[in-house]
Amino acid sequence: MSLVINQRTIGEVTILDLSGKITIGVGNVQLREAIKKLLEAGNKKILLNLADVSYVDSSGIGELVHSFTTTSNAGGTLKLLNLTKKIQDLLAITKLLTVFETFSNEDEAVASFK
């Protein structure tokens, strides 16, 4: 099982619905490519929906960080939606909840980009 990424747009915000695993060798390439394409196309308001991410390890957390910095460096904003309890724990332990803006409600998340 690897990562499946579905793309939706609400207003100016692009939502990537991630489903599957983000671990070493799994999912990281897809996520990088997806973010790169969005930024190249000028879509700079990105919301990653993690509801269906079944497993993340330190490489997966690293990929989220990489997505965040790549987006910021391109003048965009990347936020996180629907963190699973485990992802929340992993981010909290490494003080990354202070870095990412996170939401558990899609409407609120989308509105926050305005």
Binding site: I61, G62, T69
Partner: protein, 146 residues
């Protein structure tokens, strides 16, 4: 668990496709020992992190070099040894991922997670070379600090 002091050994080639296998063995074993699902989850994650490090940093993805995992289980704890055949490293030189300057580094959180979730994590450098990560988790668990 009876008998106490059972040992299970598992050896894989240095290919990430086998990480899942080690993880599923770990799950079976933590269940045998009687860890709760939450503890078992984080033990599994720690084992993945150490095996990934053994494959990547230790054996540098040389499939001819094995990663050897040993589980020593008893009534109340599990001790896991993860051995690679790399050049070893100095764990005291690993940067702290909580340091603000490292916060946005995409790498460098694996050992930190292992230390968070396991009761003890040691790095040994046997004279035969390589690295052995020794991780201990007791069943009457301390909380993970969350």
């Amino acid at each position: 668990m009876d008998p106490t002091g059972s040992t299970i050994e598992l050896s894989i080639d240095s290919d990430f496709q086998f990480v899942e296998l080690v993880a599923s063995v770990t799950d079976s074993i933590t269940q045998l020992v009687g860890f709760g699902p939450e503890e078992a989850y984080w033990i599994g994650l720690s084992v993945r992190e150490s095996v990934i490090n053994a494959i990547k940093h230790g054996n540098k993805l040389d499939v001819k070099k094995p990663v050897e995992v040993k589980f020593v289980i008893s009534d109340d704890q599990i001790v896991i040894y993860v051995k690679d055949f790399g050049e070893g490293f100095d764990p005291s030189c690993v940067p702290n991922p909580l340091d603000p300057v490292n916060l946005l580094n995409p790498n460098g959180r694996g050992i930190f997670y292992m230390r968070t979730f396991m009761d003890e994590v040691d790095f040994q450098t046997p004279s035969s070379g390589g690295t052995v990560v020794v991780m201990r988790k007791r069943k009457t668990a301390k909380t993970t600090g969350l």
